[in-house]
Amino acid sequence: MAAKLTFSKEIANLLYAMHGNPIKDCIQCGTCSGTCPAVEFMDHSPRELIAMIGANLKDEVLHSNTYWSCASCYYCNVRCPAGIDIADLMYALKRYSMWKDQYKKDLIGPKFSESFVKMIMRTGRSFEPVLAPSYIFKYGTRGIIQEAQTASALVLKGRLPLLPKKIKRLENLKRMVRRIIPIGEPS
């Protein structure tokens, strides 16, 4: 019988296709944390998070906001002396937490990403207003009013069309997607 997969092995497996070095190469120097523009908004710095994965602290990692606060600026990647692809590790953790459906429920990121993917499958292109319901209610009354004002000003400036554009060969795109992930017929 196969040995039970530890959390750190599982994360390492998720990264098998990465071009950077595995996270076991991390020397805990903290260059990533010192470089990260979002670190003060994270509950654990990138360096800490990597140590937590190594220590198999699965629940703590899954409930961290760290990877959902990553802006994909890739500064940590280019500066990491151990050559670890840290930004892609953050992507892998986002996918893992969504797949396990175990993320902090007050985060906007997972719902936003999910609605983004659904939108692309419906039209083939991105159209900002379609995404608004995935986050706007977390902004509070004042925030919602501000967003509505911005949106109407954008329309007046000719920077926001009223209707989304659909690509012409959308059905082909949908069939392409089903060849990658045979999910059965879309509902």
Binding site: A71, V78, M98, F127, M176
Partner: protein, 294 residues
């Protein structure tokens, strides 16, 4: 006219309309044709990669295959689209198994990738293919005495590709000098604007935007020049909110590099989308009203 397979990306159809207009105009003035890829789809941005990597590569691959059919370089004005296209193209070359899997999916749209495809950012086309000397020859309205802060942002430079200088690049400054303006040196030029955190973690994104604006203002920049729609939107559209949150009174114009280039080449401001901005560019009227030297 040299042709390129132009991939505008979704933002250029809405929030970044003026980037689209000014790219086409500036390119035309320099004898380039940006031929829009027919029926292109979204590149997946960052959000699609949060959900499924393979599907995201497939989305990008369809656009690359459409460019390959035209046998032209793939050109993106958005740094996010550019990064996705550059690395997907690279992975498809390195991993025949991945290419086979994705080509199987592409059959559904009668497409195929053999590759490699040349994936370029729009600014690379102006810098490398046209060149500074040629641009100088076409400048009819030099942006004299205009202090411009070149904002590189992230995904044009990073992840690192070949031998480019990811810490202190200079080509944007050189381009700004070629059109007669004064490039401003400031430390934040390759820092992050917050990208999509402006939606998913606004507090963090506004903090990054604030630091950038403050740095450019401290160096007495008249305008920040951008090369990416998301950078522009964060710095420009959300500047008012930064002022509210941080008690500042920034009124820093933010313009796409193609708008500045277009102005220098003598294109009329309205055709470059100037006037669609939220932060007034009135402080730059002295440039726009400059008579063209002939």
């Amino acid at each position: 006219m040299k042709q390129y397979a132009y991939y505008p990306g979704c933002s250029l159809e809405s929030l970044a309309k003026s980037y689209h207009l000014s790219s086409i105009e500036a390119a035309r003035e320099l004898g380039l044709e940006l031929k829009e890829i027919e029926d292109w789809n979204c590149c997946g941005a960052t959000a699609y990669f949060h959900v499924d990597e393979l599907l995201a590569y497939t989305l990008v691959a369809r656009n690359l295959a459409l460019a390959e059919k035209e046998n032209l370089d793939f050109v993106a004005p958005c740094s996010g689209c550019y990064k996705n296209a550059y690395f997907t193209n690279d992975y498809l070359q390195q991993d025949p198994g991945l290419a086979e899997h994705i080509n199987f999916a592409l059959e559904e749209d009668n497409l195929h990738i053999s590759g490699p495809i040349n994936v370029r950012h729009l600014i690379e086309v102006f810098v490398e293919d046209v060149g500074f000397e040629e641009i100088k020859k076409h400048v009819s309205r030099p942006l004299k005495d205009l202090r411009v802060a070149p904002y590189y942002g992230c995904q044009l430079l990073r992840p690192k590709k070949d031998s480019e200088d990811v810490e202190n690049p200079q080509f944007f400054e050189d381009l700004l000098s070629a059109i007669g303006s004064d490039p401003v040196e400031y430390g934040s030029k390759t820092h992050c604007c917050g990208s999509s955190l402006i939606i998913t973690n606004r507090e963090a994104a506004l903090d990054m935007v604030y630091k950038l604006l403050q740095d450019a203002a401290n160096r007495e920049a008249d305008v920040i020049a951008t090369i990416c729609p998301l950078c522009n939107v964060n710095l420009e559209l959300y500047q008012k909110q930064v002022n509210r949150e941080f008690g500042t009174d920034f009124s820093m114009p933010v313009m796409y590099f193609t708008q500045l280039l277009g102005l220098a080449l003598g294109v009329e401001p309205g055709r470059l989308g100037i006037g669609k901005d939220f932060v007034s560019t009135d402080s730059m009227q002295f440039i726009m009203q400059n008579p063209q030297s002939s």
